[in-house]
Amino acid sequence: MRVAYEEFWQIPQWTQQIFYVAAAVSSLSLVIGIVSQILKWQKCRGSSVWQWSGLLEKFLVYIVGHKKIRRKKPEGIIHALMFLGFTGLFIATSILAVETYVIKSGLLENWRYLTFSFFADIVGIVFLTGTCIALYRRLKYGKKEDELRPEAITVLSVLIVIGLTGFLAESLRIAGMGLPLHESWSVMGYLIALVIGAAHVAPGQLESGHLVLWGTHAFFSLGMIAVIPYTKLFHMVVSPANILLSPLPEQALTVLPLMKNLEQQQEIGAYHAVDIAWKDAMEGNACTNCRRCEEHCPAFLTGKSLSPRTILQGLRTAVNSGNDLLNGQLVNSDGVIAIDAVWSCTTCGSCVEQCPVSDSPLKQIMSLRVGLTSRGYVPAIAAKALEGLQSVGNPWEFEPVKRYDWANKFRLQDIPDEEIEVIYWLGCGVGYDNRIQEIAAATMGILTKAGVKYKTLADLEVCCGDPARRMGEEALFQSLARQNQQNLAKYSNKVILTHCPHCYHVLKNEYALLGLEINVVHHSQFIMELIDDNKVCLQEPWEQKVIYHDPCYLGRHNKEYSNPRQVIESAPNHKLTLLEFEENGDGSFCCGAGGGQLWLESEMGERINYHRFDQAEEKQPDVIATACPYCKIMMETACSFRGSKIKVKDISELLEIS
């Protein structure tokens, strides 16, 4: 017997013909499905941003390597099994097709055939293992009310049937061939064949059994291919495509597109389904309902009406079925996404951090906000903050002089411009709350002691634009940015220092989109440099257990996790023990103030900052340390609500204790 692939073993002509017809129909269905979906996406008028860079890395690390998918265990590993299995089987089938129709003979023979057989069976085993465990878990742990449950069970069952019938058909063939030794490389098939052989089934029956199972296998396989575009299996096509065309995950949060030429557009933002971009519509389909975003979303976890997943699914439904996009009292329509959900987002970025298919619910929410805000549909308190930004340059409507007059004791304006090294960017918080003034005062104290020559922009500074941009007021953000740009221009060779991660993020990443490169440094980074240079030296020792809360805009958005921790641990003469939250680093749980939430405050559910504070209390710290003025206010509010003795301090204030 030849050691080679025998195509269509004992499959009669008529069956083969039916097979070809079915294959053609199935392929047609697949193509039509994909094309019609693309046509639906193309109805969207927005301009897409395709990120072509890093294709190889995206492919190897995130698609094949499953890097983000594997973060969640064991689901990630199980999917890896299914993926490897399915991909392997796909490769195996493709090789067979090449052998049968292109090369016609010679490829799959001898050692190549044996290797191939082994490979094919292994991946088959992996595939079946994955799908069976998945189905078991879905049946055991899946919630009965979940409307996605029936489809999941059906699809998994079909895949398992395909796998099983594949092995059974193979084993019947091997048995029918008389169990030739070289077929033992098809390990699973050979094993089952041994069992069948032991049952002494007649050859005729083996062949007819094989035909039936082969036919069943073909039916379900071709059927599965045909329905890919119409079921959750579509993610196999769309999700990898989305990963390849989206930014690299580590850049996903900093590369937020800028809207240009606002004056020339009568309408901006996503208000109707067709306002979104092609790519965003695709993101809707790429979403596999895995719920990782929900499991890390501070709004969702505290009972707000927002789920990042349903935002994406809402886009998907609206694009595919032509529904209205939004619903809510102000907009007088009943679309698929509730306005309340849109306004509940804190822009913490966890959803983007977690999404294994490189979707960005955050980006979609921002587009929706731009659509609402540009048309004036903003909640009243947020409107007041935005009007304050328009009229006096800060969201709390205080007189501009209040931003800096508290700092007069530092006598900063006396130093001539040529001598200064650092411009201290005050931010708006210092004019509003004395708790934030404390942060700035502490930082300035450190700078003064270290002999750094610095000054502030005084009344030339207006809000960096973060609240405006996060609330969707894109045009206001751009006009604030342009104003700041004009006033920062003469200091372009200086270091801009800020204690606020929101300002830091905007100045560093978003002003660059408007053409201004600013050398901006967060105070945790600058202070760490001063400590390294031994310029900061304090007398009194202070022993405390300090738990560090990663601010979203310093951590997730700008990947700065280490400097603040180093400041805590290397604070000179202090013995500060660094504690960590369960959810820390890139998994840090938001304080709840970002995304304009100080003005959008949602009514529902639990308060996000109380939730985070309770997480801190579990670790029994003496101090909660943070590096963001918003985080400090939110943690302090929670602290006094809970009546706790824990102190809340910014890292700059830790050094000032003496």
């Binding site: 709390w396 509003y432 709350d433 009514e603 308060r607 509010t637 006094s640």
Partner: protein
Amino acid sequence: MGEVWVYVEALNSGDIELVSLELLEEGIKIANSLGSNMYAVVFGHKINHENIGRISQYGVERALVLDLPELAEYTTEAYCQAMVQLVQSRQPSIIMIGATPDGSDLAARVAAVLKVGMVSDCTDFKLDPQGRLKMIKPVDGGRAQATFETKGTPQIITVKENSIGLGRPTYKYMNIEHLEVKINQSKVRTRVIELLKGDPRTIDLEEAEKILSGGHGVVGSDQWEQMQQLADALGATLAGSRMAMDCGNIPRERLVGQTGKTVRPKLYIAMGISGASQHIGGMKESEKIIAVNMDPLAPIMKMADLQIQADVAELLPVLAAELELRKGNIETVKGAF
């Protein structure tokens, strides 16, 4: 020199608007400086004589009273016609009116009919050497102060309540002139359908004149019960800080602060409120602030007109009792007349 008139606005309840009383003494001073007479001008129907008597407590010697059925309820055109006819017959040089919704409404129309200038919502006024009235008011959201003079006679001014304050009563014998005018009913084109009194318990915080607000320091439903009773006794509206709302003691509509209401009442009493910036932002423009807190260094203290270090739990019942006592006394005193 022409007469100086102070328009006295009577409330439907029979009381007199505070600002009208505040203006009486001032009107007399101005009239004396000009060497002329001050008249208190009262419009209405079936006017309560006790009410008119109250005017005489502020040194008023002359009153002009128009008691006509057409003037039973305030309507712009009826009152305007009445005022205009009086002006045309007596030619006063100055008319001072309290800046109330009705007062401002009347003043504007009267000034337009007479084609003279009017300055509203003033907080101060002075006579200049020529005998013209200089009218002073805050402008640009209170950031500046402007002084105006009007053209024509009479000079009409409306004055904000609580800018002048109430002087000590000086009883004088008051001579009342009852006058008549003809009102053209076909030119009275508005009708009052209904008057709904504001109940401090239910009105919007932004309209409340007195607010009793509780924070973290007011603990438990018993204390909040006492707060409501105290509020009722004071005629104040109950409100609270974020903490109070999060504990479920007040509903969202009663929240004072950045994400709640911004209020400008005459009186804001903060019980057990520390004064975080989010709260202060919502009440810092209150005219008078009383702060009660266990912590004398609480941020709210330094903005309070009356700072009190006390335990809210102890203070509430005692304050309520004392208030009851005083009200009882006042009733007795009133009854004596």
